[in-house]
Amino acid sequence: MSLRRLLPVAATAATAVVLLLGRAVAGTQDAAVGGLPELVAAAERICEVEVLEAVSARLDDGTIETRYSLRTLTPIKGVAASVQELRMPGGEVAGRGLVVPGVPRFAPGERTVLFLTRATEGKAWRLPVGLERGTMRVLPGAQPRVLVQRAHDAAPEVVDRDTFVAEVLDEVARQRR
C-alpha cells in the first residue's frame, strides 16, 4: 500500500473499518457492515433528522452532489450531532444526472436515523456507514417506528422509535465508557 496509508489518520480509519465492520462476514459488495455496536463505533455522528430540502449542485470537477438541508430531531453521537446540512454524491443538474448504486437518497419530509461517517476532504461528502445499513428510516405514524436491519444477512425489523433511539444512546454511552 502507499506510504500515505501509513499516515495515522488513514491508518485509524482503515483499522476502524477492518476491526469494527469487517469481522465475520467481512463486508458488503458496496459496503462492509456489522451489527449495531459496529455501526455506532464507526459513525462519527449519529442523529435522527428530518429532511427539509434537497438541492443538487454541480461541482468544479463536473461531479454532482445533493445538499440535504436537515432538521435534527435527536442528536445522539458526535461533537456537533446537530447536522444542518448533509452533502452526498448524486443528483441532477442541467440535464445531467449522477447516480451511485447503493448510495441512499432522501426526499424532503423523510425522517431517518443516520449513522454518518466523517466528511471527505475537499468535497465534504459524508455517507451513512455501510450505505443503506447506516440509514434507519423512521416510518410515519402516530407511534413512530424505525426500520432496523441489525446485520447485513438478517431481515430488517420494525422497532418502536423510542426504544431504538434509547438502544443507540445506550450503546454510545457504553462505548464511551
Binding site: 500515505r4 496509508r5 476502524a16 465475520a24 467481512a26 458488503t28 458496496d30 463536473g62 444477512d153 425489523e157
Partner: protein, 763 residues
C-alpha cells in the same frame, strides 16, 4: 417464500451467526437458536426471496447505453498497491470478458490504452484503485469496498460516463485469494454490472447481490440471473419475452414482486424480474426453451433500500406457481415471440415466512443440511425441491430454523435452485436460491510440454479435470495468448511471452474457481552467443572479454573451463567479464541461465603465454567519416598486430571495418588508415594480434568534415585496466572481429565455436 405483512417486533431476527452456529452445532441447533427470537415479522417492503435482475431506474427513468456493444474502458495503470505482478489488470479484464460472454446479450467492451491518469471525472470510463482517498468517494469508515458512479442524461437516461473505483485505502485486494483480502475479479464483476446499468438484486447467487466477504470468489462471473439482465439491457437479435401483471385477490397491483422463470428440465432459476408500480413485468433475456413461472415476495436481508430507485416492494401476498403447484403451466420461449401470461392473482399472505439470506453451496454428488430461517411454520410443514437434481430427506424444525437434508445428484448443472416450503394447509413459501450448485472443483495435473521459450507462441496442453469452456490460463501471472477448451480434462494454451523462470500455472474457470500447479512450467532461455571479443587472452588472467547474444543478463553465469567469471551487464544483451589465470590452451566457455539448459562452447577461448597488447594512446583521435585518416596507435605488445579495425561498436566490440595500409613499427607502435562509417560519432578501435588477443580502445570520433590530426587518443591497455570505469574503455582483448562477423551463430543454443583466432584475424 413468504409473505409478510408489516410486522412489528422488538425481537432480533435469526442472524447469519446463528445459522452458522446451528450448522456447527449439529444435533442441537434449537438450543442455540431459541435464544434468539422469532423471526421478525415483516417490514414494509422487504422479505425473503431471491432473484430478479433489476435495471437502474432514477425517478422512473431507466438508465441505458446507447451502444452497449461498444463500451470502452480504461485501466488506470497504477493499479492496486497490493498487487505487484500486473494480475490486477488481468482480473478486471476477465471480469469484463465474463459479462461479454452472457448469451443473448450484445454487450461488449473494448479496452483502451492504459493511462496514468486518475481523472475519474473525465469522459473516460476509468477503472482505478483509490489508495489514498484522493478521489473523495470514500469517507473514512464508510465501509465501501468499491463503487461505480454513473452519469446520465436526465432527458432519456442515456449513460454518459461510468467509472469503477476500488477503495484501496481501506481494504486489501488480491487476485490469488490472499487471506483477508477482497478478490479483485469478484468485486469488478459486481461493479461492471452497475456500469452496464444493472442494480442490486435479492439473489445471493448473483454477482449483483449487494454484499461480499473478504476472500469471496463466487461472483467472479455473472450468474444466470445477471446474464439475463445483460441480455435484457442489450438483447442480441429479437429474444422472446414473457410479460404479465401481478395483482392481489382484490385486483390491486403488486409492485416489487419477484417473478422467476425456472429452466426446464433442470428447474434452475434462469432469470427473475421485479414487477413495476403497476404490477406489470417483462421478463427478457431468457434463452429459448421451456420454463415454469413463479411469483413470490422479495425479502430476507434485501429491501427497497438496496435499490437505487427505492422501488416500492410489497410483501403481503403469498407465493404461487403460474398454473398451480401441482401442474404448473409450461411456457415455451422462442426468439421473437412475446408471451403475455395475463393477470396473475396472488394468494393471501401465508402464516409461514422465511428470511433466507445466504445460499448453501453444494457440488454435484454432495449432500448436507440446508438451514432455512422461518417463522410461523406450523407442524407438518414440508420442504420440497422440484426437478431431477435435488432431493430432500429428513426435515427438522429447531425453533425458527428448518433444517433439511439435501442431496445434489451427480451431474447436476451449476445454478441456483429453490426450496419450496408448504404448510399442511397448502400454503407455499419459496426459499429462493436456497441451494447453489457449483461446478466440480478444477484440478490441474500436468502440462505437456513443461517448458518453452520466453518468446511465447508455443502450444501447451494442460491435463486435469473440471475445466470449463471460456476459462483462462496464467503462466506465472501472465495470461496465455489463447486457450482452447478440448474437454473437461484438457485445455490447449498458447504460451505468452514471459521472462525466463520456473512459474506456477493457474487455470481459472469462468465461474470463479481456479486451480494452481506450483512451478509447473519453465520458460527456458538458453543463452545464445553471437560474438566473443577477443577469443584469446593472457595466461596470467585479467583479460576483458565481451559477449554479445540473446538471453544474456544479470542472471547469466559465464564460466571458462568451469570457473565462474565476474560479469558486468553493459546492456543490449552485452556482458563484460574478466578472465582468471589459467594454463595456456583452449578452454570451454559456458553460459548458464537459471532453470535453463546451458550453452556450452568448447574451445571458445584460448589462453596464451604472451601478454595482451596494450594501446596507451592514438593520434589523431578523430577523422572524416569518409575515412582516409592515418592513425598511429602506441603502446606495448603491438608487434604481432594483424588487424586494426575502425568504426567498432564501443560496447560490444563488434562491427566496423579493418583499416588499410597496416604498418607494424615494432612492439610499441602500429599504424593504419581508417575506412568510412555511415554516421559520424564516437567509435571504438579494435587491435587484434596473430594469437587472437586484442584490445579495444574507445573515443575515436568520426566527423562530417575532415578534422584529422586534431588531438590524440587517451589511455588504452591490455590486461586488467587500472580503472575499469574510465571513459576510454580499456580492454585487453583478443579482438576477433573477423570471427564475430564471419562466425555469427544463429540465435539458438550452439555448441562449439572454434577459436582459431589467428586464422580469423588473417581472414
Amino acid at each position: 417464500m413468504t409473505p409478510s405483512s408489516p410486522r412489528s417486533s422488538t425481537r432480533s431476527p435469526v442472524s447469519g451467526a446463528d445459522l452458522a452456529a446451528a450448522q456447527a452445532d449439529g444435533e442441537r441447533p434449537a438450543t442455540h437458536l431459541l435464544r434468539r427470537a422469532l423471526v421478525a415479522l415483516a417490514a414494509l417492503a422487504l422479505v425473503a426471496g431471491l432473484g430478479a435482475y433489476v435495471r437502474i431506474r432514477v425517478d422512473g427513468t431507466t438508465l441505458y447505453w446507447q451502444d452497449p456493444s461498444g463500451i470502452s474502458w480504461r485501466w488506470s495503470a497504477a493499479g492496486s498497491d497490493d498487487v505487484e505482478d500486473g494480475s490486477d489488470a488481468l482480473a478486471v479484464a476477465r471480469a469484463f470478458a465474463s459479462w461479454e460472454a452472457a448469451p443473448g446479450s450484445r454487450a461488449a467492451f473494448f479496452r483502451e490504452v492504459d493511462t496514468l491518469s486518475r481523472d475519474w471525472a473525465g469522459p473516460t470510463h476509468l477503472v482505478l484503485f483509490d489508495e489514498d482517498g484522493s478521489t473523495g468517494w470514500f469517507p473514512p469508515s464508510a465501509g465501501v469496498v468499491a463503487l461505480t458512479p454513473l452519469s446520465y442524461a436526465t432527458s432519456d437516461g442515456r449513460i454518459l460516463d461510468a467509472d469503477v473505483i476500488f477503495n484501496g485505502r481501506d481494504y486489501a485486494f488480491s487476485t490469488d485469494g490472499t487471506p483477508g483480502s477482497f478478490d479483485i475479479q469478484d468485486v469488478a464483476t459486481h461493479e461492471i454490472g452497475h456500469l452496464l446499468g444493472l442494480d442490486h438484486v435479492p439473489l445471493p447467487d448473483a454477482s449483483l447481490w449487494p454484499w461480499v466477504a473478504a476472500g469471496e470468489w463466487r461472483h467472479r462471473s455473472p450468474s444466470s440471473d445477471d446474464r439475463a439482465g445483460a441480455a435484457a439491457l442489450a438483447p442480441r437479435g429479437d429474444p422472446g419475452r414473457l410479460l404479465g401483471t401481478v395483482v392481489d385477490a382484490q385486483g390491486t397491483a403488486i409492485s416489487g414482486a419477484r417473478v422467476s422463470a425456472l429452466s426446464l428440465p433442470d428447474h434452475t432459476v434462469a432469470a427473475s424480474v421485479l414487477t413495476r408500480d403497476d404490477g406489470r413485468f417483462t421478463l427478457r433475456g431468457v434463452e429459448p426453451g421451456d420454463y415454469l413461472l413463479h411469483v413470490a415476495p422479495v425479502g430476507g436481508a434485501f429491501s427497497a433500500a438496496n435499490l437505487t430507485g427505492n422501488t416500492p416492494m410489497r410483501s403481503d401476498f403469498g407465493a404461487f406457481f403460474f398454473g398451480g403447484w401441482a401442474a404448473p403451466t409450461l411456457l415455451t420461449v422462442s426468439n421473437g415471440v412475446l408471451h403475455d401470461v395475463g393477470l396473475l392473482t396472488a394468494p393471501p399472505q401465508p402464516t409461514l415466512t422465511e428470511s433466507l439470506a445466504t445460499a448453501r453451496q453444494l457440488r454435484p454428488g454432495e449432500s448436507d443440511w440446508v438451514l432455512v430461517p422461518v417463522s410461523g411454520a406450523p407442524a407438518g410443514t414440508t420442504v420440497e425441491a422440484r426437478g431431477p437434481w435435488l432431493s430432500i430427506g429428513a426435515v427438522q424444525q429447531y425453533g425458527n430454523v428448518l433444517r433439511c437434508e439435501t442431496w445434489v445428484a451427480a451431474g447436476a448443472p451449476p445454478g441456483a435452485y429453490d426450496l419450496y416450503l408448504r404448510t399442511p394447509a397448502g400454503e407455499l413459501t419459496v426459499a429462493g436460491g436456497a441451494v447453489e450448485v457449483i461446478a466440480p472443483e478444477p484440478r490441474l495435473d500436468a502440462l505437456q510440454p513443461y517448458s518453452g521459450s520466453p518468446n511465447g507462441g508455443e502450444i501447451v496442453t494442460l491435463h486435469g479435470d473440471g475445466f470449463q469452456p471460456d476459462g483462462w490460463v496464467l503462466f506465472g501471472g501472465v495470461e496465455a495468448q489463447a486457450v482452447e477448451f478440448i474437454d473437461v480434462g484438457t485445455l490447449r494454451a498458447t504460451l505468452p511471452p514471459a521472462a525466463p523462470a520456473q512459474v506456477d500455472v493457474t487455470v481459472l474457470n469462468p465461474d470463479g474457481q481456479e486451480t494452481r500447479l506450483a512451478e509447473a512450467f519453465r520458460f527456458t532461455a538458453t543463452p545464445t552467443l553471437d560474438s566473443l571479443v577477443p577469443v584469446a587472452g593472457q595466461a596470467t588472467g585479467g583479460s576483458r572479454i565481451l559477449l554479445q547474444g540473446a538471453w544474456l543478463g544479470a542472471a547469466t553465469e559465464v564460466l571458462l573451463d568451469g570457473v565462474p567469471l565476474a560479469v558486468e551487464v553493459l546492456g543490449g544483451q552485452v556482458l563484460r567479464a574478466t578472465t582468471p589465470a589459467h594454463a595456456p590452451g583452449a578452454v570451454t566457455l559456458e553460459l548458464r541461465n537459471p532453470d535453463s539448459p546451458p550453452l556450452v562452447v568448447p574451445d571458445a577461448f584460448t589462453y596464451v603465454e604472451a601478454p595482451d597488447p596494450v594501446v596507451t594512446r592514438f593520434t589523431p583521435d578523430r577523422g572524416s567519416r569518409r575515412g582516409g585518416t592515418r592513425v598511429a596507435l602506441r603502446g606495448d605488445g603491438l608487434g604481432g598486430t594483424v588487424q586494426v579495425r575502425f568504426g567498432v561498436d564501443s560496447a560490444s566490440g563488434t562491427g566496423g571495418a579493418p583499416g588499410s595500409e597496416l604498418t607494424v613499427l615494432g612492439d610499441g607502435e602500429v599504424q593504419a588508415t581508417t575506412g568510412g562509417v555511415s554516421s559520424p560519432g564516437s567509435y571504438g578501435v579494435l587491435v587484434t594480434t596473430a594469437t587472437g588477443q586484442g584490445t579495444l580502445v574507445t573515443g575515436f570520433v568520426y566527423d562530417e568534415e575532415n578534422r584529422a590530426g586534431a588531438g590524440c587518443g587517451g589511455v588504452i591497455r591490455g590486461g586488467a585496466p587500472p580503472d575499469p570505469l574510465s571513459g576510454l574503455l580499456e580492454l585487453a582483448l583478443l579482438p576477433a572481429a573477423w570471427w564475430l562477423t564471419r562466425r555469427r551463430r544463429p540465435r539458438t543454443a550452439v555448441a562449439g565455436i572454434p577459436a582459431d583466432a589467428s586464422a580469423a584475424t588473417r581472414g
